[in-house]
Symmetry: C2
Subunit: 208 residues, 2 copies
């Protein structure tokens, strides 16, 4: 007989006030110590576009065993007029910021620590108006492969790549008629898998 | 009976003086009009990190029907000390520069025009010391999917993603013992496929 032992984990949740972050916080808080952080809300304030801000956050908050970044999606763009600067602006938080959380966080998490980043379906399935979102997520996927290898066996790094979140569908669904809504339970479950199993270097794709 | 008719194509080759560019130039020049461009050599000078420089190049050179960017690989990095700024520096030419060639070039190539970008194996198969190379190539792959959709049916966009080039193996092979050398003929053939067939939004992976 296998008994399921629930061990309380200290989880630093970045972006806890967003659509996805709220769900993750609600799902994990009953059994775990969730430390929240965000640009303008949460237990700790952090602007993930700045390595200094990330370093300050880690210096102040209790040492987390796991970090989840539930970053917001990239902005939409118009391909005919898209510029390098606009693309780079789009990349700063969602891509470079998430990467910086791992690059800085590798020096703060304990052995066995786990990073879970958030990408999205546009990495693999393009749609009109989200070139930046695709570039950001495709880059994140390859970053996860690289970071997992570099940090193994000391720490784990994974990503959850959802399609259209059920909670976002009322607002954004009409823009992407080809994308089915993905249940929030399924998405939350994917984050649980990255926290509570030994998977490493995985991109958990939830597209349909 | 199908007769193969070789139609001369006007091809703008960026990075013509590099390891791969030299081979592509030699292979394509006998049957096609190859216009070469590079930072410090070639028929036209261009710094692909600058949209203005790219725009100047297109303004000066004859209108190409196809553009190939045979960009150099990204720099190597040390994950424990890697910073956002260093990663971004690495991304400027190889990622943002190649993206800019398409964003600017979409306004200069004629209908039916073709873009071929160059990525690499680290997008899909991580190795120690090439996190930047992975991020760059993974981002490029998703960019190709997006750009092909956005520009269809007006223009085509593809990428060739080689592993260790045979011509680079003497210099770099020892750093990546897991990577077999890929014959230059096979790599050149992949570029031919992007030029002379109707494939669009494809990443041609040559890994073993």
């Amino acid at each position: 007989m296998v008994a399921y032992v629930c061990i309380t984990m200290k989880i630093l949740l970045i972006g806890a006030s967003g659509t996805l972050g709220k769900r993750l916080n609600a799902a994990l808080s009953p059994d775990h110590e969730v430390i929240t952080a965000g640009r303008s809300s949460g237990d700790y304030h952090v602007d993930i576009r700045s390595e200094d801000s990330i370093r300050n956050m880690f210096g102040q908050c209790p040492q987390p065993e796991a970090l989840i970044c539930a970053a917001a999606s990239g902005d939409m763009d118009n391909f005919a007029t898209l510029t390098q600067d606009a693309l780079l602006d789009n990349m700063r938080g969602k891509l470079l910021g998430q990467i910086s959380l791992v690059l800085v966080g590798q020096h703060f998490l304990p052995p066995g620590g786990s990073f879970t980043l958030t990408s999205g379906v546009f990495a693999d399935e393009p749609h009109i108006g989200v070139t930046g979102g695709g570039v950001i997520s495709g880059a994140l996927h390859s970053f996860v492969y690289a970071a997992a290898l570099e940090l193994s066996p000391r720490m784990r790094v994974n990503a959850v790549s959802p399609g259209m979140l059920q909670d976002s569908a009322p607002q954004y669904g009409a823009l992407f008629p080809g994308l089915p809504a993905i249940s929030m339970d399924a998405v939350v479950h994917a984050y649980r898998q990255t926290l509570f199993t030994d998977i490493n270097g995985q991109v958990l794709r939830l597209y349909r």
